[in-house]
């Protein structure tokens, strides 16, 4: 009797933690920083944190959709590098054409991933691995292996400008988060992608346009990755194909999973993803501000990932 009561209690706590753990963690970290970190509660610091988190969030939003379909996109970092290589090539023709071409390349790359996954039936890890391996190489070939300094003020404004005191990249990331939440929650497309992630076979039998939805999801993910590449290139003031988006796939996947979207698909948490990005950003900032060396910071991040996923894992055994 007491035993069952205890298990019920434990599953209830576990379930609550799964659902709200990431929010609790973010709040706890913010409180910790307010109490123990000098200069945390300053506008400047908040701006820095948000600006650093913006590109990760843009990528993570696309990744959340892909993971929702029980997929994964390893190529997002490489697509960011492609952006970083393409922008300097076309900036001579103006900001708009350069950005448009970079975004189109990302969209095309994503659509290619989607076709490989949906029509050819290749596992997402492998399908996107090919672009990860080749994409950065292609970016380096395009840029001749060089970091290119940019001076176009219109383009650089994307990185440094602000609207109503809010940095442009943060604004873009925030608007995209709202759009994605609406896409997942309010549209047929969103409901279908979640259904496909939950049970692809059943979705096929139910007559859903599975291939079209999958290709769309990967295309959106590629487009957003390219946009993140544009934003980080503008912020850096240089196209750096060697470093842009390095290990971004891992940061994005981590943020999505920590935010409560299971790798097994069938569920997408957009607000959770935002929280996941903020959490990982806050963890990094906290560790740096307390002068912990990079090595320790990395090891602690690893432990946090394992801990967060361990909590989230119990979902599947419900």
């Amino acid at each position: 009797m007491t035993d069952t009561a205890k298990t019920v209690d434990r599953t209830r706590v576990a379930r609550w933690l799964q659902e709200y753990g990431v929010y609790v963690a973010v709040v706890a970290l913010v409180l910790f920083n307010i109490a123990f970190t000098a200069n945390f509660l300053t506008v400047g610091n908040f701006r820095t944190q948000l600006i650093q988190a913006a590109p990760v969030l843009v990528v993570a939003l696309g990744m959340a959709l892909v993971i929702g379909t029980e997929g994964v996109d390893l190529s997002v970092g490489a697509v960011m590098a492609l952006s970083a290589a393409i922008i300097p090539l076309y900036l001579g023709a103006g900001t708009l054409p350069a950005v448009a071409i970079a975004l189109a390349a990302g969209l095309a790359a994503g659509a290619l991933n989607g076709v490989l996954v949906a029509k050819v039936g290749i596992q997402p890890i492998v399908a996107t691995l090919a672009l990860l391996v080749g994409g950065r190489g292609l970016a380096l070939v395009l840029a001749d292996g060089q970091l290119v300094q940019l001076h176009d003020p219109g383009f650089l404004a994307l990185g440094t400008g602000e609207v109503l005191g809010i940095p442009v990249s943060v604004l873009i990331a925030a608007v995209l988060a709202v759009l994605m939440a609406a896409l997942v929650g309010k549209t047929a497309f969103g409901r279908r992608l979640v259904a496909i992630g939950g049970n692809r076979r059943a979705s096929v039998l139910a007559g859903l346009p599975v291939n079209r939805v999958l290709i769309g999801v990967y295309a959106i993910c590629g487009l957003l990755a390219a946009l993140a590449g544009v934003l980080s290139t503008a912020r850096l003031g240089a196209g750096d194909p060697a470093d842009a988006g390095l290990l971004m796939e891992l940061s994005a996947i981590t943020a999505v999973v920590v935010g409560g979207t299971p790798l097994t698909g069938g569920r997408v948490r957009i607000l959770g993803t935002v929280m996941g990005v903020l959490l990982m950003q806050l963890v990094r900032a906290t560790l740096i501000k307390h002068n912990l060396p990079d090595s320790t910071a990395q090891m602690i991040q690893a432990a946090i990932i394992v801990g967060a996923v361990y909590v989230a894992r119990e979902r599947s055994s419900r």
């Binding site: 492998v126 691995l129 090891m299 361990y310």
Partner: protein, 330 residues
């Protein structure tokens, strides 16, 4: 198949045979073709010196990919191998101040431990291998940075240390790592094909549920393959350190993806349950030959290496997939 069954009988068997051969031996055929073309186009390709280089370069990747093959056949994946490889090298160079045995055993022990953590987390908690090994990728890099005072220290292996011989020594002109890799792959192949453990590896990847019902030690099998992967990556790192005579901190980034792609090119399915060591060895050969050929074309940017490798991987998986379809659709 579209043709009428009576007439098509013979035809389709032949076609089936062809696709079967292509599916099984496609990578080997590609490797032979690539070597033949390279031999004809580049006079230097076939020189003994160059072949030695190819063999040596292949050996480090082959040792890592061997462990990865076992992991992938169980239906898992190990993203930590690149970091663990770099960590192994640093630990070997660090340990070499206490002699040969420490230089060899320290990396194997620590890397094996990381593999054990991977294995336990995957097998006992049901967490996705992808995330677990992603975390240990970060962890191993962090540990490496901590050991080398944030990457500022490079440990050299003392002059005349016997450990260097392990990486630099040669037999019949070929480096010791080549023989070590060959021996390990042979043992790995036998282990996979001829032992009870090998059967559990296949069964675990084929269908975990049925493997459990058959009473196979699924959890133990999983833990074992991750430990193997950790130890082998550490060994490859130690051999690299012996060859370079120092523990280089910046190597191994992205190596996990190289290892995964050669395993996939070699015909092992990422869904698990199927795969061969020989295929992986052939995959490693293909990867190294691509690298080597691009280096031979002096005018070609070395960045093309990854472009070609990516394109090749794409072609291989698309072919594998479409061939698999033609054989299952009949």
């Amino acid at each position: 198949m579209t043709a009428a069954p009576t007439l098509a009988g013979q035809d389709s068997t032949r076609r089936e045979l062809m696709t079967g051969v292509l599916q099984k031996q496609g990578a080997a055929i590609a490797l032979v073709l690539m070597v033949a073309v390279a031999w004809l186009l580049f006079p230097r390709f076939g020189s003994l010196d160059n072949l030695r280089d190819i063999a040596l370069q292949s050996s480090f990747l082959a040792i890592i990919a061997l462990g990865m093959t076992f992991v992938i056949i169980t239906g898992g994946i190990d993203l930590s191998v690149g970091s663990v490889y770099a960590l192994g090298g640093v630990l070997a160079a660090y340990g070499s101040q206490w002699g040969f045995l420490v230089a060899l055993l320290l990396p194997l022990a620590v890397c094996g431990l990381i593999g054990l953590i991977n294995g336990l987390l995957v097998a006992k908690t049901g967490m996705a291998p992808f995330i677990v090994t992603l975390a240990t990728l970060l962890f191993a890099r962090g540990l490496l940075l901590a050991i080398t005072s944030e990457g500022a220290t490079t440990y050299k292996i003392p002059e005349g240390e016997a450990f260097v011989e392990l990486g630099r020594g040669t037999l019949f002109g070929f480096g010791y790592p080549v023989f070590i890799a060959a021996a390990l792959c042979l043992i790995g192949g036998l282990l996979l094909r001829r032992t009870r453990f090998g059967q559990s590896v296949f069964a675990t990847g084929g269908s975990e549920q049925s493997a459990k019902l058959m009473g196979l030690p699924v959890a133990r099998t999983k833990v074992t393959v991750y430990v193997m992967s950790g130890v082998l990556s550490g060994l490859a790192g130690a051999l690299t350190a012996a060859y370079l005579q120092s523990g280089v901190t910046v190597i191994g980034v992205g190596l996990e993806l190289d290892a995964i792609s050669v395993v996939v090119i070699g015909g092992t399915l990422l869904t698990g349950g199927m795969g061969t060591i020989l295929g992986t060895v052939i995959g490693v050969g293909i990867r190294t030959v691509i690298q080597n050929v691009i280096n031979q074309i002096g005018t070609l940017d070395s960045n093309y290496q990854s472009v070609v490798s990516g394109a090749f991987l794409l072609v291989v998986v698309v072919l594998q997939r479409s061939l698999a379809r033609t054989t299952t659709r009949r």
